[in-house]
């Protein structure tokens, strides 16, 4: 009889303990399942400027889903243009992006090494069938690389653009002002690199080690790695005066070299990441 009397008291305490443990475990589950969902905030934020993704990236949503956050693209880039995002990017943590002003993708690798390195197809030559390209993202023709202009196969295997260049601050453009440029663009402390065909086709060098002396500044056109993506055109300004104006053309893929080399502070020409071509 005594056992039946003491037994309920024991099991009550046990039941309480089990209940507490269950509730605490539930709390743990809710907390640790909820915290990563906060990563949705930076992804969904309307005012967040889009990131410039490496060449061959799928559309942003698919890109974030398919990127495995390993950084192999970072490792193969000869100019270290690609950086990985931090936890402030939420679901975009560890996902590669390019800050063109700091270091643009200049296609020094010729073959788009980052696409070759990507193990999941987040960067890809051929997007899967269900991946519908946005209107204006597809390139009219395979881009021709100036560095490979004399090769039997001068094109880059790239079907979509990363973004589009835009003359954002025409008032600070040296060409429009009719000015030349002499010296190191971006100054002596700038660490960015660029491949100069006249120096070494195989090896990019620091931009600061390549000073210029130009009668009319045409750096964005001169250093653009692609054929016919940008040119200086006489364009009439508000007063009807013809001025040599950098004009972005359809073959622009948004690599960002123009933004990197622009001597104006801040850059007169910038890349609109993930933007599409509008005729």
């Amino acid at each position: 009889m005594s056992t039946t009397q003491t037994k309920p008291a024991m099991s009550l305490e046990k039941a309480q303990k089990a209940r507490r443990k269950f509730l605490q475990s539930l709390g743990l589950t809710v907390t640790f399942a909820g915290i990563p969902l906060l990563g949705f905030i930076p992804v969904a934020a309307a005012n967040r400027p889009p990131r410039l993704r490496p060449p061959g990236a799928l559309n942003e949503r698919d890109f974030l889903a398919s990127c495995i956050k390993c950084g192999q693209c970072v490792q193969v880039c000869p100019v270290q243009a690609i950086k990985l995002a931090d936890i402030v990017d939420g679901f975009g943590i560890g996902v590669p992006h390019i800050d063109a002003r700091t270091q643009a993708c200049d296609f020094s690798c010729d073959a788009v090494q980052c696409i070759l390195a990507c193990p999941t197809g987040a960067l890809t030559y051929t997007a899967p069938d269900f991946h519908a390209p946005r209107a204006g993202a597809s390139l009219a023709a395979a881009p021709i690389l100036k560095a490979k202009a004399n090769d039997p196969e001068p094109t880059l295997n790239l079907k979509e653009r990363m973004g589009v260049a835009r003359l954002a601050r025409p008032e600070s453009c040296l060409a429009i002002q009719g000015k030349g440029f002499k010296g190191q663009t971006r100054g002596p402390a700038f660490k960015g690199e660029l491949r100069y065909l006249e120096v070494d086709r195989r090896k990019p060098i620091a931009v600061r080690n390549h000073p210029y002396d130009l009668e009319l500044c045409d750096l964005c056109v001169r250093e653009c790695p692609l054929m016919d993506a940008i040119e200086l055109r006489p364009v009439k300004d508000a007063h009807g005066v013809e001025r040599m104006t950098p004009t972005v053309l359809e073959p622009c893929i948004g690599c960002g070299v123009c933004e990197m080399v622009c001597p104006a502070k801040p850059a007169a020409i910038v890349i609109d990441p993930q933007a599409v071509w509008k005729a």
Binding site: K21, F22, Q24, S25, L28, T29, F32, A33, I35, P36, L37, L38, G39, F40, V43, R61, D62, L64, A65, S66, C67, I68, K69, C70, G71, Q72, V74, Q75, V76, L84, D86, I87, V88, G90, F91, I93, G94, A117, P119, T120, G121, T124, P128, F130
Partner: protein
């Protein structure tokens, strides 16, 4: 249910079961062991006296863990291209290797599997089937090493009665695994990667530190002041994924009941003490038993056992040799 199923359920969170039937051989062993109490105590003390405290397996493991992570780092820094990438996905001299849980997240979120992703995942699957599944946790994962160091701090604070360990239900990890898989499937984002300390630490080592390390530090503080090894024990879906793989692995820790004095030192050092339930008196049904798939093969129990009742073992190897 078979012992395999019991151990598997134990990994998912079920409480260890007492054996329904103990083999005659074990009954005889236990009878002989406790036949003469004085002799038993004498033997126990003798074993203790002659046990040299060893950190053999721990030191080997730390060396392997640090070497594996350093190989990633120097491959990039010195551009020797041996092991490119991070722990989520990499290439070892050109061969794709892809972390199983990261692959799962990407597959569920993206719903599209390219050939390289499949090859890398299959390679890693075979690798960890051979090497023991959760062996990844204790021999490779950088968070495991940090957590081990902070665990020592936690234990010191427990000893001084400054903190107490708050245990959660081990089944929480199974719930997390399902939740993280569902979140990837439904949202189309690799939600878990946002907080994965394994990925964060691996990338921080290779590509440089960032704010994400703050999150890892918070996890470590939680483990020091609230719950011992909470992330690895109750949350991490990577561990469960590798645990499932390890359930069919031939590499495991083997327990021999005859040598055991049932004192429980092994359970005190273990990350997943439920796998050592067999070391409790009268819980072993067979003479030799391998620990369940949740065991990380870290070897701490092998180091601490004074009698060699716990040893590394490769199933079938003794028969082959």
């Amino acid at each position: 249910m078979s012992r395999f199923a019991d151990l598997f359920m134990g990994m998912l969170g079920a409480a260890p079961k007492k054996p329904e039937k103990v083999s005659e051989k074990v009954q005889k062993i236990m009878f002989l062991k406790y036949e003469d109490k004085d002799r038993f105590i004498k033997e126990k003390l003798h074993a203790r006296e002659h046990h040299k405290t060893s950190h053999k397996w721990r030191n080997r493991r730390w060396a392997v863990l640090i070497a594996a992570n350093l190989l990633f780092v120097v491959s990039f820094w010195l551009d020797i291209q041996l092991l490119e990438g991070a722990l989520t996905a990499s290439r070892f001299i050109g061969f794709h290797l892809i972390d199983l849980n990261s692959a799962l997240q990407v597959m569920l979120a993206h719903k599209h599997i390219i050939v390289n992703l499949f090859i890398g995942t299959a390679t890693v699957f075979v690798l960890w089937v051979l090497l023991g599944g959760r062996t990844f946790c204790s021999w490779v994962c950088p968070y495991h090493l940090l957590a081990e160091w902070f665990e020592a701090l936690h234990l010191k604070l427990v000893e001084k009665k400054i903190v107490t360990d708050h245990e959660f239900h081990r089944g929480a990890r199974t719930v997390f695994w399902v939740l993280f898989a569902l979140m990837a499937l439904v949202t189309g984002y690799t939600v878990f990667e946002t907080i994965s300390p394994t990925g964060i630490l691996s990338r921080a080592l290779i590509y440089g530190p960032g704010l994400a390390l703050g999150w890892v530090f918070l996890l470590l503080l939680f483990e020091v002041f609230w719950s011992r090894r909470a992330w690895c024990r109750y949350v991490c879906p990577i561990g469960l994924t590798y645990g499932v793989v390890g359930s069919i692995s031939p590499l495991r820790i083997q327990y021999t009941v005859e040598h055991c004095f049932h004192e429980g030192d092994c359970r005190k050092v273990c990350l997943v003490p439920h796998v050592l339930d067999v070391t409790i008196k009268n819980r072993a049904a067979e003479e030799h038993l391998s620990l369940g798939p949740d065991c990380t093969r870290c070897g701490l129990c092998v180091d601490v056992c004074p009698t060699g009742a716990l040893r590394f073992n490769i199933k079938g190897l003794s028969r082959l040799l």
